[in-house]
């Protein structure tokens, strides 16, 4: 017999991905409809790209303007479909997210990943701020009631650094080549537009 608790759903993200941000706005609705909570797994998109030789759409399609335009059209469609009002493309894109991703690992170790993700995603993609700057990151965390100075200090801890590397390597070993990525059990989906399939698989496993 399956139950909502027995279904494992994961959301692999990097704050640098606008499509991860948009996915993060939709996941709470999926959790409400299915009763299954997603585990948020911070991984480094730059590390995934390096390991798989993949590139961001902005880079890969730089010479294919109609393909890039279509990516942007599908972004607008996703935003319209889900009634998303808080999104602005970060003018500092691409943003080096190494420190804020390490901060996410530290926050997760402290059991504070959810408020950390909310605060940083909002600062990156709703406000949007130059979040590669440690001072900007720190004040965004402070403003959200988190301890920015302490989290920033933790980004230099070897266990935090090592955890982010290990989780990124594990994602690559499981077939991840870009973000956002989703797992239900060991089944992989890539991209925000697969969230419907992800939800269907969660429902299928719950009723199995």
């Amino acid at each position: 017999m399956s139950s909502a608790q027995a279904v494992q759903a994961q959301f692999l993200f990097d704050f640098g991905s606008p499509n991860a941000y948009l996915s993060g706005l939709v996941i709470p609705d999926i959790e409400k409809r299915t009763g299954v909570k997603f585990d948020y797994v911070p991984v480094l998109l730059g590390g995934i790209f390096k390991a798989t030789r993949n590139r961001s759409p902005v880079e890969a399609y730089a010479d294919i303007p109609s393909k890039l335009a279509y990516e942007q059209l599908e972004m607008r469609r996703f935003i319209a479909r889900h009634g998303i009002s808080e999104f602005q493309f970060n003018p500092h894109f691409p943003v080096n997210t190494l420190l804020i991703m390490r901060g996410a690992v530290a926050a997760a170790m402290d059991g504070a990943l959810a408020p950390y993700v909310d605060a940083v995603m909002r600062a990156m993609w709703a406000e949007p701020k130059p979040m590669a700057d440690p001072a900007v990151g720190r004040s965004a965390l402070d403003a959200a009631g988190l301890d920015g100075a302490q989290l920033l200090a933790r980004t230099q801890d070897p266990d935090v650094k090592q955890q982010l590397i290990a989780d990124t390597e594990r994602a690559v070993a499981r077939g991840v080549f870009g973000l956002p990525a989703f797992f239900v059990g060991e089944e992989l989906w890539f991209g925000k537009d697969r969230l419907r399939d992800v939800e269907e698989e969660i429902v299928r496993r719950r009723s199995a």
Copy 2:
């Protein structure tokens, strides 16, 4: 007031695309559910790639094995979702489709596009045969009750050649960068996995 007749749906295809073949197996079900018939538009994928500087996934992801593996996973998922039993990857891929695409234009001019598409798609992706060879193409058409010799001869007609070029250029001008592509009115969708969105848009326009 809208009606099924007032909604314009188009399916842009090239026989060289396995995902166009798979889409073609699903479109009849969408037509049955919505009452809206798709116009099949033959266009040259090679011409689209050349004009947009895009490449096939097999080529573009040759150095990104996990991305290519994911493409193949999504192909298997589509096949399973739609209960498709007749599909074999053509061992002669990539196939030069210039002649058989011109043949499709000639067949369309004769009002025989539907049986032509059925015969050639089946020969390409179900049997599958080396369809770049004119003799193979001719006998596949003959076997389907079409006049292979006459259609093959028509591929040298200037009006046939010109029509295929014009339809390909028009597709590029409308934002197409790959196949399969779909239009509902002037709204573009790319790829077999967008057929759900295409169907939703058809239904939305019918009830508008």
